[in-house]
């Protein structure tokens, strides 16, 4: 296991695109210390900011308030990254494989355009979780993101595959332009859910109003949810047990772009035959 402990609080953003378990595991401690980073607009080296402990391996532990570190573990393609403290923007963006566990909050663009792997965040996440960068057509294309508390706006922006689970609330426009995949929101959220979604599923485990363009297609009871909950548990994602006892109302849309996505909203109404 390799530990990187932040020496001093960061004053300006530190760009750490080159830092990920898979990028460090084949280097010596000395080489790791020499890795070039950019601190604001100035070039710097990793050893200027971190105490390096342990042996290089694909298990990387980082400690400290990393909320000013940008692009940490972007393009990661294997291994395990544990962050004890807050993470910054673009954490795990473009990642392909491996696991990131953040014991704290993270900034915007968590797992943006990721292609695989898993990200677990114990606290809040910023905007555009699993989203597509501006101008790109496809966001998250596989993998799993779990946010332990609330997430910001545009969760799953243009996502095509994969799963996002938000244990708390989401900001506006969750599932905006969604093309596929699944978003699970466990608490009541803000408005404009799933607008312009083409395909995919958004499940709300608490009551919410679907956008007016969506049409109701009736109550929804499916064995799928049991299977899905089993998958999430196997991935270490807790799903509230009451979720399985709910009746969902299925809304289809968004018809304004001829979409055939679905929003499943939990209802306390008794189930119908």
């Amino acid at each position: 296991m390799l530990r990187l402990v932040l020496k001093n609080p960061l004053q300006v953003p530190l760009d750490a695109e080159s830092l990920s378990p898979s990028a460090l595991c084949n280097r010596t401690v000395k080489e790791i210390g020499e890795i070039p980073l950019r601190y604001g607009r100035r070039p710097a080296k990793l050893r200027d900011f971190f105490e390096i402990e342990g042996e290089p391996s694909d298990h990387l532990v980082m400690e400290g308030d990393l909320s000013k570190i940008r692009h940490l573990a972007s393009h990661m393609d294997g291994g395990l990254l544990e962050v004890y403290g807050h993470g910054g923007m673009h954490l795990g963006a473009h990642m392909r494989a491996g696991t990131i566990q953040v014991h704290g909050c993270v900034g915007d663009w968590l797992g943006a355009e990721m292609r695989g792997g898993a990200i677990h965040v114990t606290q809040d996440a910023g905007n555009q979780v699993g989203g597509a960068y501006r101008g790109n057509r496809i966001g998250m294309n596989n993998g799993l993101i779990y946010v332990g508390r609330d997430a910001g706006t545009e969760v799953g922006l243009k996502m095509r595959r994969g799963t996002i689970v938000v244990a708390g609330r989401c900001g506006d426009f969750a599932g905006l332009h969604m093309k596929g995949g699944t978003i699970v929101i466990q608490q009541a959220s803000s408005s404009r859910l799933g607008v312009w979604m083409r395909r995919g599923t958004i499940m709300c485990l608490a009551p919410i109003t679907a956008p007016p363009s969506f049409s109701v297609s009736g109550p929804y009871l499916s064995a799928f949810l049991h299977v899905f909950a089993g998958f999430l548990r196997s991935e270490g994602v807790p799903l509230a047990s009451c979720a399985l006892e709910q009746v969902f109302v299925r809304h289809v849309g968004d018809p304004s772009i001829d979409g055939r996505g679905e929003i499943l909203i939990a209802s306390n109404a008794p189930s119908e035959p």
């Binding site: 950019r38 607009r41 070039p43 960068y133 501006r134 101008g135 790109n136």
Partner: protein
């Protein structure tokens, strides 16, 4: 328009020498200077500027370091000028054009889809050179072309009319192009991005190369210079004043799209585009660009361009140089194209290989002569000391992608790929003479037509860093 490109583009970080920016298919203004100079290019020409936005163009050119610059203004769809031509008042039209060139602080005149953009504002295009333009009774695109070429000659502009022909990009447009060239007989003219104008066939499925026809005509007519506008496979963004073409391209691609109506002067459109090897049309475009460079005999009259950023970004020129200097490499690239198009191309039969001297001509000496910049493109007494020194390498794209030294105005600005200094270059302009009475009548037209007042319209000379006026030599 293309923020996604910024993530994958070459990045320039701030340093004590240069500013931050990025490359990609539409580089930032500062990076544009670094990238051109990084290949050894020291003079560039912005080929299409609406007069209405010329002030902004000069502001951007002021932010392009190292290289010397110039710009051409769009005239072929200016409705004040078109109205005068419709009325048969060619002399006053020439005065108006000269006034516009002075007002824009420009170096010459660009004609884009003459009459077509004006017609597009009425829901039409202008594909036939001899048919009247929508909104006009008598005026035809052919007449606009002939008159503008005449004006450039009579005003003595160092660079002739820079023409983007009608009917760009369409299958079978070779007939329009040849007809256009015939309209230019007796006048100098530069035909821009010829590759987009030399297609045969009836539709997108039957599109084929007609580069040999165009090359045969131009080889025999020394009044014409041309640049090829070569295409390279990959992502690009198409930007042109040809509004109707961009609207059509948007309908073909279904991708992002922007069109602008620049008041009564011209239009504009932007559509990101991806050239694919497997696409029949794109494969023909790639081949036609190279065919023209290989079939046109005189390297002093055909120039290496990609119609940046339409065919590819300018920083990909070294890739084209490699294709020109190595027939074997071309053959290797041809194998990746769809089999069914190979019979409709001339490229497989062409074995010509460019020499280093010819490359220097089509990239530097020829364009300098065509632009009328007598101090550029030559090594000799009185020339500007703009010199690129290259190391030998078996791969020409390595040679031209990374010069050993780049010297600008006698100062070493780049050594082994490292930018040492970023001096500001000059900006060339011309000041053709005109009848002062023309300004008086224009003032009235401005009150009727423009959103900008007449007095605020001309660009002041102090908006240009280091202006350098090149003399006009009227006939």
């Amino acid at each position: 328009m293309t923020p996604e490109d910024r993530q994958r583009a070459q990045k320039f970080f701030h340093s004590h020498v240069h500013r931050a920016g990025h490359g990609g298919f539409a580089p930032t203004s500062f990076a544009t200077g670094y990238l051109y100079a990084g290949m050894g290019w020291t003079t560039v020409n912005e080929a299409a500027v609406p007069v209405l936005t010329a002030r902004h163009t000069h502001e951007e050119l002021n932010d392009v370091p190292i290289v010397d610059k110039s710009c051409l203004v769009l005239m072929a769809n200016n409705e004040i000028m078109l109205d005068l031509l419709e009325q048969g008042d060619a002399a006053r039209a020439k005065d108006v054009v000269a006034w516009y060139v002075n007002a824009a602080k420009a170096f010459g005149i660009k004609a884009v889809n003459p009459g077509g953009v004006a017609a597009w504002k009425r829901g039409h295009d202008a594909k036939q050179l001899t048919s009247s333009i929508a909104g006009y009774d008598r005026l035809t695109p052919g007449e606009i072309i002939r008159q503008l070429a005449r004006m450039c000659d009579e005003l003595g502009l160092p660079h002739p009319m820079h023409l983007h022909c009608n009917n760009l990009g369409a299958p079978g447009n070779i007939s329009t192009t040849l007809e256009t060239l015939k309209h230019l007989e007796g006048h100098r003219a530069h035909v821009a991005h010829l590759q987009y104008h030399t297609y045969g066939g009836h539709d997108w499925d039957s599109i084929c190369s007609q580069s040999a026809q165009a090359a045969e005509y131009i080889n025999a007519h020394p009044n014409i210079t041309t640049d090829v506008g070569a295409v390279l496979f990959g992502n690009s963004v198409t930007i042109t004043a040809d509004g109707p073409w961009q609207h059509l391209l948007y309908r073909l691609t279904g991708r992002k799209w922007g069109n602008v109506d620049v008041e009564n002067e011209t239009g504009c459109g932007i559509v990101p585009y991806t050239y694919k090897r497997t696409n029949l049309v794109n494969a023909v475009q790639w081949a036609v660009g190279l065919e023209l460079l290989l079939l046109l005999d005189d390297p002093w009259r055909v120039f290496l361009t990609t119609d940046h950023p339409n065919g590819a970004s300018f920083w990909r020129y070294p890739e084209i140089i490699r294709l020109l200097m190595s027939a074997d490499f071309r053959k290797e690239c041809l194998t990746a194209l769809p089999d069914r198009i190979k019979s409709s191309l001339y490229l497989p039969e062409l074995t010509r290989e460019y020499t280093l001297y010819e490359i220097a001509t089509i990239t530097a000496a020829g364009p300098a002569r065509a632009l009328g910049l007598m101090r550029k493109g030559a090594l000799g007494t009185g020339s500007d000391a703009d010199i690129a020194i290259y190391d030998e390498h078996e791969d020409p794209s390595q040679v031209f992608g990374r010069p050993r030294f780049v010297i600008k105005a006698g100062e070493v600005v780049i050594r082994d790929g490292e930018i040492l200094s970023t001096p500001m270059g000059r900006e060339f302009l011309v000041q053709p003479t005109f009848d002062p009475g023309a300004a008086g009548s224009l003032r009235k037209d401005f009150e009727n037509c423009y959103t900008m007042s007449f007095d605020n319209y001309p660009v002041a000379m102090n908006c240009l860093h280091r202006p350098d006026v090149i003399d006009c030599l009227p006939e």
